[in-house]
Amino acid sequence: MGLKRNVSLATGLRYQGKGPMLTFVLHRIGGLGIAIFVGTHLLSSFFGGQIGQSLNAIYESWIFQIFVFFCALFHAINGIRITILDLWPNLIEYQREAIWVEWAVFIPLYTIAVIVIVRTGLAG
């Protein structure tokens, strides 16, 4: 196992991985977001009480829904791409095209969802 790290954090941040790197970072952020959301959501519905109710108020606000829906949808769609490419390794040659397809699926779906969430949120 590579336990030594030869690259400093500053160098790491300057790494320009372009498209694949962006999906990696967003996949990670999305996964962390879902884990934190589901974890606190489970705990709040298990313990209930004052803290649980104030947490539920956050979850039900439309601004938070926009964020958590981004996490869930991106993680799900990027996960499909990773699963397909990993289970059929010959397709790795087309991974850049796969990322374009992924964005072509994600952007319309997410835009529609955001429009619906904002309209519902503003309507009260």
């Binding site: 996964g31 962390l32 974890g39 489970l42 705990l43 499909i80 390794p89 790795i92 040659e93 619906v116």
Partner: protein
């Protein structure tokens, strides 16, 4: 450029490899369960009474208390053992998939063998506790 892959027999079979394939397969399982939740919502009248947020919420976790918060007329179809079982399956897949994901992330930043050992210990405790809490909520809600 042709991609190079080893035949199955030449690949090592260890815990990391098993968790790698489990992450992919559990993702496929969760897609199936989410699809079942959304189709179930549509079958039970989501077309006429529901908005998109509710359908999504049921897709991700179709249990009684989620459905109760929406203005569905008849709650009975949603608290059947079928939905509790599919909810349990979704919860178990999600918790193990998620906790393993957190371990992978932690391994990128915690590199000492001792630290990784501690992360694994914490992750196992978290996994068991979260699974228990989630199953309790699914079966009592």
């Amino acid at each position: 450029m042709k991609s190079r892959t080893l035949p199955l027999g030449k690949r090592g079979l260890n815990f990391e490899m098993l968790m790698w394939i489990f992450t992919r397969l559990s993702a496929l399982g969760m897609y199936a369960l989410i699809l079942i939740g959304v189709i179930g919502a549509l079958v039970m009248g989501a077309r006429t009474q529901m908005n998109m947020a509710d359908v999504i919420r049921w897709g991700f976790m179709p249990n009684g208390s989620h459905v109760q918060n929406t203005n569905v007329q008849d709650l009975a179809p949603w608290v059947s053992p079928f939905w509790k079982l599919s909810g349990s399956a979704l919860v178990l897949l999600a918790v193990s998939h998620g906790v393993h994901g957190l371990v992978v992330i932690a391994d990128d930043y915690i590199v000492s063998p001792m630290g990784r050992q501690i992360v694994r210990l914490i992750s196992i405790v978290t996994m068991v506790a979260m699974s228990g809490i989630a199953l309790y909520i699914v079966w009592t809600a």
